[in-house]
């Protein structure tokens, strides 16, 4: 069978050609220490400043609000914990469906208040609990695609700063308003892995939560990966330029998947059907285990992710699906790359119903 497609862009988007080109050029020109005053150092500094300016323009923020980190997770840790430290007192509050990077950082900081979500995975717009240092609210959920009311929460936050994990949405959707710090991850928009973006609003009460380093950017410790930062910026610029066209195409394709999958008996299609990421859909199939689904789809050529317990290293089901009350077993997350075609999606939809039926028959005879 020759059909098939990689449908896991939400885990990592393939490298954008613009990123590859920038990376290869910058590997030769951006190797030096950007703090040095010699010619090679100045060249690296120029590339780094250029990357910062391009990212700032693409995300509609100021260049001095942009820091490059070693990963999206590192940006989440710095952003959230820096606001927490800047607040001096109180406890972190976060939605029940934040990425595990937020949950682990909150736990490291002494625990947190968890805000429940509705069946779409959306948090209610309400003032944060009394004594909250920082409110962590993602721009969009990474597993089910539901957008969160970040700006609305900021409007009623009564001075509590918001940290927004925008890793799932950055490049695909404009950033929401209202955050004091935010995080993004380049490999999710077609940049190279190993580049995170930390955004800290000018004037935000942010204090470095970890040992400082004497680099170009005081917020980001360690030697700058100049070529990767430039490649990440080039990909982001290209993705934002094509955003309207790609967004419309992906929304149509995901809508088609949602409709088709809902016709298979005993399938729970989860997440907000409208106010969502353009490229992602999650559904759960009763009586099946996620691992078999992922393995069999891979055998048929389709690469997808799953939030089911049997596919997780921890053997616990996705905390996102659990918080929504969605079925956690038999879970599949499908997310489109910028190049996913109608034929790819049709190919997936052509094999899925028979596969579900076959796996259910096998389960019944176990």
């Amino acid at each position: 069978m020759t059909s098939g497609a990689y449908l896991d862009a939400a885990s990592s988007e393939p490298l954008h050609p613009a990123a590859r080109e920038a990376l290869l050029a910058a590997l030769d020109q951006g190797y030096a220490d950007p703090r040095r005053l010699h010619r090679a150092g100045r060249s690296a500094r120029l590339l780094l400043d250029n990357a910062r300016a391009v990212v700032a323009e693409a995300l509609d923020v100021r260049p001095d609000e942009v820091s490059f980190t070693a990963s999206g997770t590192a940006a989440v840790h710095l952003g959230l914990l820096g606001l927490h430290r800047g607040a001096r007192e109180g406890r972190i509050a976060h939605t029940a469906v934040e990425h595990s990077a937020v949950l682990h950082a909150a736990q490291w900081a002494g625990g947190a208040a968890e805000l429940p979500v509705d069946r779409f995975g959306r948090v209610e717009v309400a003032p944060p609990p009394r004594g909250t240092s920082v409110l962590a609210v993602q721009a969009a959920n990474h597993e089910v695609g539901t957008l969160q009311p970040v700006a609305e929460l900021a409007a009623v936050a009564d001075g509590v700063p918001l940290f927004t994990d925008a890793c799932a949405s950055a490049g695909r959707l404009p950033l929401p308003d209202g955050w004091s710090a935010a995080a993004a991850s380049a490999h999710k928009w077609g940049g190279p892995a190993g580049v995170g973006v930390l955004l800290v609003r000018k004037g935000a009460r942010w204090r470095h939560p970890f040992p400082v380093d004497e680099r170009i950017d005081e917020r980001a410790p360690g030697f700058e990966n100049v070529p990767a930062a430039l490649a990440a910026a080039a990909a982001l610029q290209a993705v934002v330029a094509d955003r309207d066209e790609v967004d419309a195409r992906q929304r149509r394709l995901i809508e088609r998947v949602r409709r088709a999958v809902a016709l298979i008996p005993d399938v729970d299609v989860v997440g907000d059907p409208v106010d969502r990421l353009p490229h992602l859909v999650t559904f759960s199939c009763l009586y099946l285990d996620g691992e078999s689904l992922v393995t069999e789809l891979d055998r048929l050529g389709f690469g997808v992710a799953s939030g089911s317990a049997c596919t997780a290293s921890t053997l616990t089901p996705s905390h996102v699906l659990a918080a929504m009350g969605a079925l956690t077993h038999g879970n599949v997350r499908l997310s489109l790359t910028r190049d996913t075609s109608e034929a790819d999606v049709d190919g997936f939809l052509a094999v899925l119903p028979a596969l579900v039926e076959r796996l259910r028959a096998e389960v019944a005879h176990r």
Binding site: D266, D268, S284, L286, Y287, L288, D289, S308, A309, C310, L315, T316, P317, L321, A322, G325, A326, L327, T328, H329, G330, V363, A364
Partner: protein
């Protein structure tokens, strides 16, 4: 009448499969008492009830570990 199904020691989706099998022989109004200790069951049993239009009457911890889910056939 209540049918008891003990799925302790089984991981997802086996407890929900067992629940569905037990339901086949149930009259409307009768209940299944499902014992399970898989963490996913706490989410998946209520989700199954929602998807299949059946009623989760209640849950209680079981001495020695796990949870008892009492589910009534309503349709």
């Amino acid at each position: 009448m209540t049918v008891e199904v003990d799925c302790r020691g089984q991981v997802c989706p086996l407890p929900v499969i067992a629940l569905a099998k037990a339901f086949r022989d149930l009259e409307v109004g009768e209940t299944v008492s499902l014992l399970a200790d898989d963490v996913a069951a706490a989410v998946d049993v209520p989700a199954w009830c929602r998807m299949k239009g059946q009623e989760l009457v209640g849950t209680e911890p079981v001495v020695g570990g796990g949870t008892r889910f009492v589910v009534r056939r309503t349709a």
